[in-house]
Subunit: 340 residues, 2 copies
DNA sequence: ATGAAAGCGCTAACAT
DNA sequence: ATGTTAGCGCTTTCAT
């Protein structure tokens, strides 16, 4: 049993053991090519044997690159979005894993972080999930010229370096068709604040869809502060109209649940009197009674793509401005299973 | 409008501007006390004016301390726990914020990370949420002597530096009393794998409680892989017994929901025929029909306490081994509102 | 193909 | 109270 070295083994130790210089070890380890194959092999063997691993801070200091990126789940009013957030945990974990794969470390940024703390993070760029565009992390980094990739787009003037998103327009069309196939004739939509691109995309698509059919669009948006009470009020407003919709596409799981709740209270059967679908799937919806139709947005894939995009821009700034679309898969459940 | 400096302003710039040495600036900024008040004031003013902020990597390299900590949400089988995870997002965000307050940066570790990636993280310690004790992050760091604080305890031989937890034993007693007050006479418990301390604590408390009353304990545990199907099977098993319980305390929200689901299918009314309570609250439970009684575990507080504990141990290793208990508050809802 | 040496920005003995 | 100086562990130009 070998003694545990008190000091971490450094590049110096390997150089000594191999009888070469620091430069050679560094080159060999970083694949700079300027090293003879056998020397390189010897160095790698030694590194493995001695249990070497580079001191990231020394590398970062020498190269001037942080090799770290921040991830932030945007919130409603500084608080984390109050809903089923398995989606967010999946995104976060996949970002962490993907970051490692690219040689980066993912640091977590709380939604209410202050701009002055950004320097302490020492990140090269950031990923912001479901941004409004107002997040201090996003604006501060953007203004410094550091790349920010978002999951969901920032509406309006784009100051980000790219985005990855599901095609929410296609999803809206898909769900409206799905409603139509099941015989629903007056679908409505229920959204959160329109500051999020998923809501804006859906509203736009829905309104065009309605216009094309000469149907009066019915939509309610919870303008700010997504709470259970606000969700209930919105659902109530929707279902108490004289031209009550016979189907509702809700942007958030809480909105879908609120709709189901209000429907039940009003004696409307789901899916008989009212069809309900949600824009993203969650455990809550699977467990509702009846289970609610929703889209699988593939959160892990979204996280991975966001990291790929960000690291690509970091490696080559000319690649900024790209986007990636991840498919959304409709999971049809009982809440829309009315025979057409 | 001043020109944006191409290079970040360093301690050197401040020293030059103030006409003092690097040491003095460093001392002043770090509050080493060895500086005249007026000099210090001048240095701070200059630092603010020039927009100085320390290069964390240089500090870390010089001090040998990473000033970073890892956070990990333990999973079931390498995947994130499939349930309402607003709880986890709250813990994560509070850990991030608290870490900053203590001068640390929180880096995110995916539950399926490989041990070899731990060096790349370069953290001084870690916080693991709901550990089994088998997490590579935990075992690897512990074996290196790096402190690990857990949220929920590791069962068995403790190799961690402290833990913060809700008092799940007290909570179990509380909910059993609550059931009793409402007139329920044969409460049962439904748990996930007993590798988590919250489950073990609850089982132990419940069994003692039953023993003391000469009641035959009724409990079902989902041994591994928490899925919707597994939860349903467990609930089914519980409610199909000839000595069917009249109340169920479920450790996870999915288990509570599954119980409500099965009850409904079997024509059992909640809370009339069956009382249901869950160990931790979530949006899902608020929206269930009827809404389910549960405990508020104060996730943000748990995250903050975990960081406080970890940084305390980091600052002074003799403080290892402490623990903090965060209260759990019973939120009584319709699912247990049977008149006793 | 390999080595010497400077430097990344900061801290911390050790002077003075 | 303030300054000098030697690192921290690595990368990288420039020699050889």
């Amino acid at each position: 049993m070998r003694m545990q070295p008190r000091r971490r083994v450094s590049i110096r130790d390997i150089a000594d053991a191999a009888g070469v210089s620091l430069t050679t070890v560094s080159h060999a380890l970083n694949g700079k090519g300027r090293v003879q194959p056998e020397t390189r092999a010897r160095i790698f063997a030694l590194a493995a044997e001695l249990g070497y691993s580079a001191n990231p801070h020394a590398q970062r200091l020498a190269t001037g690159r942080h090799m770290m990126l921040a991830v932030q789940i945007s919130g409603f009013g500084g608080k984390a979005l109050a809903t089923d957030s398995a989606y967010f945990v999946d995104v976060l974990n996949s970002v962490s894993a993907a970051a490692l794969d690219h040689g980066y470390t993912a640091v977590l940024a709380a939604p209410d972080m202050r701009p002055r703390d950004i320097d302490a993070f020492a990140v090269d760029g950031a990923i912001v999930v479901d941004p409004t565009g107002e997040e201090p992390l996003l604006t501060t980094l953007a203004q410094r010229g550091a790349p920010v990739v978002t999951t969901g787009r920032v509406l309006g003037a784009g100051q980000t370096s790219g985005w990855v998103d599901n095609d929410l327009r296609k999803a809206a069309t898909r769900v409206l068709d799905h409603f139509g196939d099941a015989g629903y004739e007056r679908p409505a939509i229920l959204t959160g604040p329109l500051t999020r691109s998923y809501a804006a995309d859906t509203v736009e698509t829905y309104e065009r869809w309605a216009r094309e059919r000469g149907i009066e669009p019915i939509s309610v948006a919870v303008r700010s502060g997504m709470s259970a009470a606000a969700a209930m009020r919105a659902a109530e407003a929707l279902l108490s109209r004289r031209d009550r919709p016979d189907a509702v596409y809700a942007m958030l799981d809480v909105l879908a649940l609120a709709t189901a709740h209000v429907a039940r209270r009003r004696g409307l059967s789901v899916p008989g009197d009212l069809g309900i679908a949600a824009a993203f799937d969650s455990e809550v919806l699977r467990w509702a009674d009846p289970p609610l139709t929703a889209f699988d947005l593939h959160p892990a894939r979204i996280g991975r793509e966001a990291v790929a995009l960000l690291t690509a821009v970091l490696a080559d700034p000319t690649r900024a401005g790209r986007s990636v679309t991840v498919p959304a898969k409709l999971i049809s459940r009982a809440s829309t299973a009315r025979s057409g």
